[in-house]
């Protein structure tokens, strides 16, 4: 009796899903093993994580606060993928959106409702502007967006750090701007109305992509630009539009963070949401609706990390755990194309 491995031309959704579940379980097992080796009790810690996140109303609110920006940056990256662009710059666009929202909130006097609308528009616009140069460079000169969007992240982060500790700094804290007056109203503890808006954006975009002529053209352009050109689709125009949209969504996430959660601009406000968003998008396998779920999952992982830190684990251990999950998921993804058969003798 001999067992053999066979590669299939495509994987079924069920197997792909199962592969991802197995990957996550394996990652958790390995993490548990490491915890045991370092002298922790994994069951105790797991119980602690669950009881103070999923089974606790404050915990759930913490989760939601992390979920909103993560899902939006994931959406930003996933939208870019639809047209075949890797937006590694969601981090920078997030900063840019937060920067613009703060500027509007601090320096343009207006009633709160108007100020919030202006901040929202400013967040969208700033994110789009931050990705404008990489977009045009890709559309007209075929410059890789991987590098250009990534490099602008550092510019944005340092710019925000500079204004938050320099020209705009608050006399009391010295490391952040004064409080922005306009706040997005909250409807459940720390959860504000940005939450349903973020989910709505994902659903609307998913519907637009699958149910409009424009969406069809975008998906075709992303899958094979020369076939799209052959079908008479203005590929370059769509590329520019979609990349700007990708940047705008990340910028909006930055605006929500300022107006809904932090209420001021500070260095490091992005919390790496832009980078983790790449993971959210990869886990969702190009599905915009999937981003809602993978965003929630990554939020849970991040939140668990924070809880574990209060239990004496280091940030690096938590980072290693997230890395492990992505790594194993990638392997599971590839393995879902294979099946094991048994030879009849």
């Amino acid at each position: 009796m001999a067992y053999r491995i066979q590669r299939l031309p495509s994987s079924t959704p069920l197997i792909a899903f199962a592969a991802r579940v197995i990957a996550v379980v394996l990652a958790l097992l390995v993490t548990a093993l490491i915890l045991v080796i370092t002298g922790h009790n994994p069951f105790e810690l797991a119980g602690e994580v669950l009881s103070s996140s999923l089974f606790d109303s404050f915990g759930l609110q913490d989760l939601g606060v992390i979920f909103m920006p993560l899902m939006l940056t994931g959406l930003s990256v996933a939208i870019g993928q639809q047209i075949g662009a890797w937006n590694i710059g969601a981090e920078g666009q997030f900063y840019a959106g937060a920067f613009a929202a703060t500027a509007i909130g601090l320096f343009i006097p207006a009633p709160d409702w108007l100020s919030l609308i202006l901040m929202g528009v400013g967040g969208f616009a700033a994110g789009a502007i931050w990705i404008l140069v990489p977009t045009l460079a890709k559309a007209y000169a075929d410059v890789s967006e991987l590098i250009s969007t990534l490099l602008l992240n550092f510019v944005a982060a340092l710019l925000v750090y500079y204004v938050a500790t320099g020209p705009w700094h608050d006399r009391m804290t010295n490391s952040a701007t004064p409080k922005v007056a306009a706040e997005i109203p909250e409807f459940w503890g720390a959860i504000h109305w940005g939450f349903p808006i973020a989910i709505l954006i994902a659903i609307v975009l998913a519907l637009v992509l699958s149910n409009t002529k424009w969406g069809y053209e975008v998906r075709l352009s992303g899958s094979n630009p020369s076939a799209a050109k052959y079908a008479g689709i203005p590929v370059r125009r769509h590329l520019i539009m979609v990349m700007l949209l990708s940047g705008a969504i990340a910028g909006f996430a930055g605006m929500l963070e300022v107006a809904g959660t932090v209420h001021r601009l500070q260095g490091g406000i992005s919390n790496n949401y832009g980078y983790i968003g790449i993971m959210v998008a990869v886990l969702a396998r190009g599905s915009l609706i999937g981003v809602i779920f993978t965003g929630a999952f990554m939020a849970f992982i991040q939140n668990s990390g924070i809880i574990l830190q209060t239990q004496g684990l280091t940030t690096s251990a938590v980072l290693a755990m997230t890395g492990l999950i992505l790594f194993l998921t990638a392997i599971g993804e590839e393995l879902s194309y294979y099946r094991i058969t048994r030879d009849k003798v």
Partner: protein, 550 residues
Amino acid sequence: MRRAARPFLVVSANSNDSLIGSSRMQDEIPAAASSPGTPPRVYLKGIAKYFPGVIANENVDIEVLPGEIHALLGENGAGKSTLMNILTGIYQPDAGEIIIDGYARQFASPVQAIAAGIGMVHQHFKLVQAFTVAENIHLGWDQTPKRTSAAVLEARTAELARAFNLQVKPGARVSDLSTGEQQRVEILRVLSRNAKILILDEPTAVLTPAEARELFRALRDFVSRGNSVIFISHKLDEVLEISDRISILRQGRKIATEKAADCDPRMLAKLMVGRDIVLDDMRGRAANAKPLSAEPVLKVAGLSALGDNGLPALHDINFSLRAGEILGIAGVAGNGQRELSQVLTGVRPALSGEIIIAGKTMAGLKAGEFAAAGIGHIPEDRLHSGLAPAMSITTNAVMREYGRPPVAKGGFFSRDAAGKLAREIASAADVAIPDFAMPIRNLSGGNQQRLVARREMRIADRILVAAYPSRGLDVGAINTMLRYIVELRDAGAGVILISEELEELLNLSDRIAVLYEGRIMGILDNDNLDIDEIGLMMGGRAHGYAGEAA
């Protein structure tokens, strides 16, 4: 006799009868019935292989005798490659036996098959481009000396080349060799591992006629020493020329094994596709065909365009096409055919000149507007520019009509209507599709091309530009393709047929234009045409061409 004079006849270690068998072989065309007691070199017995939803092989019995060139003939997807992958240990059969020189064998891996004397030369060579010939020959070979130098390897290679009578340049880099030379290196590498059974997959597809002749000489030399060759092909003439016997596969099953001497092309084609092939004059119109239009549906005047490299690829092209007419474009590939088909369909901008469709100038318009004006386009590289391979069959099928009702309503895209249209196109193309959500790259090349053709025919109200529509297809699929084109012509569309198969052009075209270095060397009526003259024009000799009145 040259063959008999050779001192070494291969005596297989596993067989005490093969010497006798081999001597018989020198004077006769080998046939199973004529040599009782001689175990075949390869006996595939009742081989079956199943993939999910597909019968790749079932109940296949094939005997390959010592000293024989045995051709394996079949359409794309008939199961030839799977069968050879089983013989070379890449796949394991689900049923059946592999019997080599009378002994049943199981190959768990290609290494074991090679050790048993089975070597395969794939269609896409597996050589390291940056290595020299000698290095490639010695790569991954247990006979390679442990401590060695380039000079030693080259000397050993030269020795092998002499022994097997294959000319190679031991010190040359593979990337500097022609495809014919690379193929010789591949063959030498296989033979140097003491292969007694050489499998060649479509070996002439990459060769010039002269190189193919040289290959055939080498193969005859190889089998004259009592070895065997399995020759996979779908070119009928070549199979008849080189092989002793021919086995025909169809839909995974063996249909027949015939002596080549008893076969003719028509009969083989029929066995291959299971029906009569009409590969002859298709210029006759159906009774209800629309007549040729008085006014041209397409006029091209003074057209020029740049190639991908930014250099002029088309110069001063002039012709006109009437509705209901097929204009063939002959020429060696790479003389502007690709650019011409792209400019005529709006994919590539014209540098100067005019394209007038049904009286309307198309200056400055793009592919979308050309399609809307009733031009269909079967591109030469369907996977790169005619399809999005990773996307679903439905997505690909509606590529031309997604923007008009019923698929598009307002700005919306109706998935139901798209699915319905896709099923309609698939049924017109006679392609059975289990799952329309599956990526189109999972379909065979022939089925992809049928879907593309049907999709384009639906929008080709006025003109169809078909670039190499039969390239890479087998006889059955080619025949279907050509039928489609005739059908469209009879429905009253003008057809531009770009092809490198002269026979195809002669069978279909009303007129034939010859392209050479981006210029039309002449347009001839396809009526008692002198083929030599077309040949001369393809080689760059203009003939009586003053261009047509634009």
